[in-house]
Amino acid sequence: MAIDKSNSPSGKSPSNDLTCVFPQGSKPHPPASVQDSQSRLSQSSLLVSLVGNPNSGKTTVFNNMTGSRQHVGNYPGVTVEKISGKRNWRECSMEVVDLPGSYSLTAWSEEERLARRFILDEKPDVVLDVLDASNLERNLYLAVQLIEMHAPVLLVFNMSDMARVRGFEFDLQRLSDLLGTPIVQTVGSKNAGIDTLLDAIVQYAALEEKAPTPFIDYGPDIEAAIQLISGKLEETHPDLAIHKRRWLALKLLENDGELAEKYGNEALLECMRKQQSHIQSILGDTPEILIADRRYGFISGACQETMRSTVERRHDRSDQIDAVVTHPLLAFPLFFALMYLVFQFTFTLGNPLMNWIEIFFGWLGNTVSGFWPEGSESLLQSLLVDGIIGGVGGVIVFLPNIMLLFLAISFLEDSGYMARAAFIMDQLMHKIGLHGKSFIPMLIGFGCSVPAIMATRILENRRDRMTTIMLIPLMSCGGRLPIYGLLIPAFFPKQWQAPLLWLVYFFGIVLAVTVAFLLRKTLFRGESEPFVMELPPYRIPTLKGAALHMWNRGWLYLKKAGTVILVGSIILWFLSSFPRPATEYDSQITQLKATGEMEAASDLITKKQALLVSQSFAGRLGKTIEPALESFGADWRVGIGVIGGIAAKEIFVAQLGVVFSVRDAEASVDKLREKLQQDFSALAGFCIIIFCLISTPCVATLAATARETGSAKWAWFQLIGLTAMAWIIASAIYQVGKYFAIGI
C-alpha cells in the first residue's frame, strides 16, 4: 500500500506521484510513522549502503542523499575507490557507503567481491539497490541476488519519470509483495523522491519483522544438490542459519572460489564438485548458467505479473544518436574532435590559471625573501623560498588541470559518450593489448602525466590500468617542451627544427606502443579482457554530479599525491643546495658590492652558483654517473640537469643555466645554446633530447603512480625501467651515429 507522506504537499511537483510501498508481511504493516519508527530504532545512527548496476543513476542518488559531505578513500589493499558520505535525517544520522557499481554479486570481479564482502561483513542496516526503472528486468538480477543473501534490501526505482515516459506501468504493491522488499520511486536527476527514500530507510530499519524472502525454485536437480551441500555445511558449520546455508550451497554450486575457500573442507568441496558435474551431465550446462537462467525466469515471471509496457522505446533517441556517433566514417573524426575539445578545455583553460598560481607563488617567494637583507644568503630563506614555497606551489599548480580534466571526463561519462568512445577506440587499442578507454589518459599525457595517471581510473581492469600508467610518461608532457625548445634550436638548423620536434613526440608514441605490447606479454600477462560492455542510453549530465566529481578528484590529489610531491621537492632542493662551503668568490663579491659594482658582482655570483652546484650532492651524483652519461655523449653537467628535472621537467633548463654559468638562463636562452653548441656535437644533442624524452619521470608523476597503483614499488619500477630504457636507446643511437660519423 502507498504510505501517505504527511510532509509532501499535494501539488503538481514531479515528486508528487512518486510513491513508496512496503511488502505484505512486514510487521507492523503498514510501518509506523517516521517519528514512531525513529523512537523504536535501538540506535540513532544507521549504516546504509548503495548498490546498483552501472548507469542506474546510483551516484546521482548518492549525491542527492549526502550532498557535499563525501569522503573518497580506497578499500584496503586494492585500487577500488570507497566513497562514503553522511546525512542527518530528522533525528537519525546516516552513514552512506556507495559501493562499486556491478551487475551481479559473483566472485569474478574485484568490485563485486568488495560489494558482497561489505554487505556480509559490515552488515549495513539497509542496503539500497538503485535500479533503472525503465530497464527493470536486467536491473532486478542484482536485486534478486541481494534478496537471496537475505540482505535488508530496499529497492530504489530510479529514473521513474523516464519509465513513465516510455510507457511502463507498475503494480508496485504487487511487485513489492512478490520480492518481499519495500520499493521507493525516485528521479535522481531532479532530486525528487529523496525525502521519501530517507523516511523509508528509517521506517524499514525500525520494522519489527521484515517480510519473508521469496523462494526461488531452481528445479528438482539443483534443489537436490542444494539440499545435499547444505546438509554437509550443517555438519561443519552448525551455527549457520538455514537460509544462510541455502545461500552458501547455491554459491558453492555456482563455483564461488572465495566462499569455497572460506567455508569448504575437502569433503564439502568434493561433494560440491560432484554435484556440479552431475548437474552438468544431466542438464547440459554449468550450474551457474542454469542458476542465472532460473533467476531471470523468476524475474520475468514477476515482471509479467506486475508490469505493463506499451512499446519498448527505451533506445529510440539513443539509437538515432548512435547512428551518427558510431557511424563507420563519422565515428573517428567525431571522437578526435571531442578529444581535441577535452584537451583544449583542460590545458587552454587551465594554463592561465596555472600562470596565476605561479605568479602568486613567485610573488610570495619574493615577499618572503624580502624579509632578509639584500644579498644575504640565509639557509632558512633558501629552505622557505626554494624548498617549501616552491614545493607547495609545485603541488597546487597542477590543480586547475586536474579539476578541469575531471569535469570534462565526468561529462563524457555521465552523458554516455565514454562507453561509445571506448568501443570506437577498442579496434585500435586492442591491437597493442590495451582497452579502448586507455586512449584518453594517453592523450592527456601530452599535457601532463599527473592528471593522465589519475584519469586511468576510468579503466576497470587492473592489468589495463597498470600498463597504461607505466607508459604515460612516454607521452611527452608540456613540461618537457621547454627542454626541446632549448636543445633543438641549439643543435639544428631552422628547417629541421619543426620536423625534429614532431619526430621526438612520435618516437615517444612508438615507444609507448612497444612498451604496452611488451608489458602485456610479460608482467601484465593474461587473457586480455574480452570486450563486453553495456551502452547506456544517452543522458543529459547534471552539473551537480560533475562538480562533485571534480571536487572529489582535486581534493584526493592534494591529500595523497600532494604530500609526496612536496617531500620530493624538498629532498631535491636539499640535494642541489648542500653542502654549501665558503668559496673563493665570497670576499670578492662582498668587495664589489661595497664599491657598488653590481654588474661585476652579479657575474661573480653566477660563477659562484655554478661552483656550488657542481660541489653539491646533486653535482657529485652527476659526476659519479658521468661514465654512464658519456656513452651517449653527455657529461656530468647534463646529469645535474636531469637530476633537477626529477623535481619538475622544466627545471632542467634552469639547472643547465646554473651549471653553465649563464645568468637568468630562461631569459637569455641564446647564450646557453651557444655554450651547449661549443661543448656537444649535434649527435650528442639529439641523444640528450631522446634521453630527456624517456628517462626519469618527475616526482609528481612518480607520486601519482605510487598513489594510483597502491604501491611505491611500481613508482620505482617506472623510474628505473624508463631511465634504463632511456640510457640504452640514447647510447645505441649515439654509438651507431658515431660509427657512421653522422652529426659529429
Partner: protein
C-alpha cells in the same frame, strides 16, 4: 524460461551460427559461448545473456564491434567475442 527450451534447441542439431555473421535487425536466440572461461560466461549472464534469451542485432558492419539489444539494454561486444557466441 528455459531450461527446456534450451535443451530442445541444443538437442535439435548443431545448426547454430555465430553472432558475428548475423545481419543487422535480425532477432536470434543466444545459445552459449565457444571456449569461454567461466568468468566471461558469468559476465554475459549478468548482462542478461543466458541460453534461450532473444537478442536483436542492432549493428554489425562485418568488422569492428557488434551492438545487441538484450532485455531492453544495449550491449556492445568486441569482434573476437562476437565470433565466439553461438546463436540460432
Amino acid at each position: 524460461m528455459a531450461i527446456s527450451t534450451m535443451q530442445e534447441i541444443s538437442s535439435k542439431n548443431h545448426s547454430h551460427i555465430y553472432l558475428s555473421s548475423v545481419p543487422e535487425k535480425k532477432k536470434v536466440q543466444f545459445l552459449g559461448v565457444d571456449g569461454g572461461g567461466r568468468g566471461i560466461r558469468n559476465r554475459l549472464a549478468a548482462l542478461g545473456l543466458v541460453p534461450g534469451v532473444e537478442i536483436e542485432v542492432i549493428r554489425n558492419h562485418g568488422w569492428g564491434c557488434c551492438i545487441l539489444s538484450v532485455k531492453g539494454s544495449r550491449i556492445v561486444l568486441g569482434r573476437g567475442m562476437a565470433s565466439r557466441i553461438q546463436v540460432i
